[in-house]
Amino acid sequence: MNEYEFTLTFTLRSTGVDVDDLVERLGDAGCEDAAIGVGQRGRLALSFIREAESAAKAVLSGIADVKRAISDATLIEASPDLVGLTDVAELLHVTRQNVRKLILDCEAVAPAPVHEGRPTIWHLAKVLGWLREEKNYPIEEDLAELAQTTMQINLAVGSKDIDHAAQSEILALLA
């Protein structure tokens, strides 16, 4: 069994419900391995430290537990997936300067971001894969596996907005 650390953020459709009651339901459903944030109306965030056989089992069981407790909770994000330099530094236990050097000020072509701007955002899985392949940088397998899982989940969340008619033309261009 490994320990996986991840955060799930949900929206709640019914805002009139007593938060303390929701918390009891989450406790009943087995979410006591998460710190629960209730500081924003209509939102719920759970920061888990969960033991499981795999990252996928850890994260998916977390989502299932929340859904069991609160059926109208809708997942909006699993993290760590979308990350900036500061987040990467924290996850690799190095300084931000260090990560900056590794990723931006190096001769290899930097991993492609999801968004270039302030801040620039990457999929963590892509950064870890790139560090491992291009830089021979040691990456913990658990973290790599977790990043793959959260990326797949967030892609699935985004796919709910897909317009299939528009997508077929776009995908042809991206091929």
Binding site: V23, E24, E32, Q40, G84, L85, T86
Partner: protein, 91 residues
């Protein structure tokens, strides 16, 4: 300190740390899971804690050490972000 102590020493220590950083700990009435809640001192729309501006404290989590770690992380996350507003700007 006038509030009730948390029954677990690891969690109580983490709560004292949160209080030393200005967080307010509110103890709930008796229930099966939730023991209380802690409130970020910068609880305003600009605060970077987001949802964790109000964080639930469990009464008897299976791994109290982990819960204590989570509480500290919420507090440190807030401090880190507070001192870092321009940091991400350079990308």
């Amino acid at each position: 300190m006038s509030r009730r102590r948390h029954p677990d020493p690891h969690i109580e220590k983490a709560l004292r740390y949160a209080e030393s950083q200005g967080w307010r700990v509110e103890v709930l009435g008796p229930r099966a899971h939730g023991w209380g809640k802690m409130y970020c001192p910068h609880n305003d729309p600009d605060c970077r804690c987001g949802e964790f501006c109000i964080t639930v404290i469990w009464g008897t989590p299976k791994r109290p050490e982990n819960h204590a770690r989570q509480i500290r992380r919420v507090v440190d996350g807030c401090l880190r972000r507070a001192g870092e507003t321009d940091d991400e700007q350079e990308g």
